[in-house]
Assembly symmetry: C2
């Protein structure tokens, strides 16, 4: 089946969620690393759990709750001023270094984003980054008040872009998102950003390494990606560019 | 509202999922600890993700997939014989030490289990433990082919026991289960088994400690338990026993 549109996940795929570490370390010292990892783990857990509980709250509020959980876990009071500064870092995450080149290589295709982010978060994130204006649509799951990998989220793409599901290449670094998108019916490319190497023998597995072990590998959920790449520029030859 | 039935979660609440550590360490050496923690994290993630993806697989298969993921993560080939031995430990998890006394104290109430476990797993687990025969019903979510915290799972209790939802006290150590049960409409007691203390200053946070931080605290999902206890015997005075 030909590919007529490329749809990207945002957090972890185009934008580096680990780039909050700088602010977290500036504000919380050597607890910054563990806050960074717990925050992302809880953020995703809360999207899944709120979808399951039928208790939707948008990604900004979910991200804030996950931050408060993480700060309290390391013994830091989640004061409003501290949380506000950390949350604002989520509006200015770093683009992965190859994104701009990848988007230029793929510009003949219809490009879009499908993200858990709220519309306000995504507007701020995309518009303040170098790829502002490169996407035909930035689709937020907020339109259906559920989170990925709920099928209703992926179902937003076809009507938004006017491209049949089977003609969409969906690209994500998040294993659960790869499985959910494949289950839904997209062609899927997994950007293997985490790496799957086991930790070195006899090393102490700290939070960053443990996070990588939890999130870096392909998930065993019965749905495999069609393509595996290590960076987004590797997509161009796959689609004939 | 009076309480007419007490419904317990099984894994982590009556039975100690951390008790697989012994076999894991026997078979996998010093990787046993990290396997124990990854396995439980992935097991729960896969229940949530498969529910969200509308791709149900029973808890035995989910637990096996999570084990294979965990072994591969630490560089151990998930050979069938190894997986079989580790999986069998899930059929003989240790009861927490106070469970038998708690059940004796609460015996005037209708007692039941509501668990993610498959019927076969729960039969083996309960019948080989000291509380066999103590429960009016052992309810598996397999009847609805979804996992907690999906409301359909909690909805199994009222027809199975003939007790109104508002007259059920649901007891779990799992924060997501506490939130889901409260959202559904039960009275809820949280057994705080993990502890919420932050890690000691300047300590290296290894996998067991990180797991405790991820799972030990109350979740920030907007639903608070009615009661917090540190062991199940503390339930008796709450319900007038």
């Amino acid at each position: 089946m030909p590919i007529r549109a490329l749809v990207f996940d945002a957090y972890g795929t185009l934008y580096d969620v680990q780039s909050v570490r700088g602010v977290a370390t500036e504000l919380c010292g050597d607890k910054g690393e563990i806050i960074t990892q717990l925050w992302r783990l809880k953020q995703l857990e809360y999207t899944w759990l709120r979808s399951l509980m039928r208790s939707y709250q948008d990604f900004w509020l979910v991200t804030r709750a996950a931050l408060e959980f993480s700060l309290a876990s390391v013994g830091i009071a989640p004061a409003a001023a501290l949380c506000d500064r950390l949350m604002s870092s989520y509006l200015h995450l770093d683009l992965y270094e190859e994104v701009l080149r990848a988007v230029a290589l793929l510009g003949d295709y219809k490009l879009a984003i499908l993200s858990n982010g709220s519309p306000t978060m995504l507007d701020a994130l995309v518009n303040s980054s170098a790829v502002a204006g490169c996407f035909a649509d930035v689709i937020s799951v907020d339109r259906v008040r559920q989170f990925k990998p709920e099928p209703a989220c992926y179902a937003l793409v076809e009507p938004a872009l006017g491209v049949a599901t089977a003609e969409v290449l969906f690209i994500s670094s998040n294993g659960f998102d790869v499985a959910g998108a494949k289950r839904y019916g997209f062609q899927v490319a997994w950007v293997e950003r985490g790496g799957a190497a086991p930790p070195p023998e006899n090393s102490v597995v700290g939070p960053a390494e443990f996070y990588r072990m939890i999130r870096g590998r392909a998930e065993q959920l019965g749905y495999e990606p069609d393509y595996r790449v290590t960076r987004l520029t590797d997509l161009a030859p796959l689609v004939g560019r």
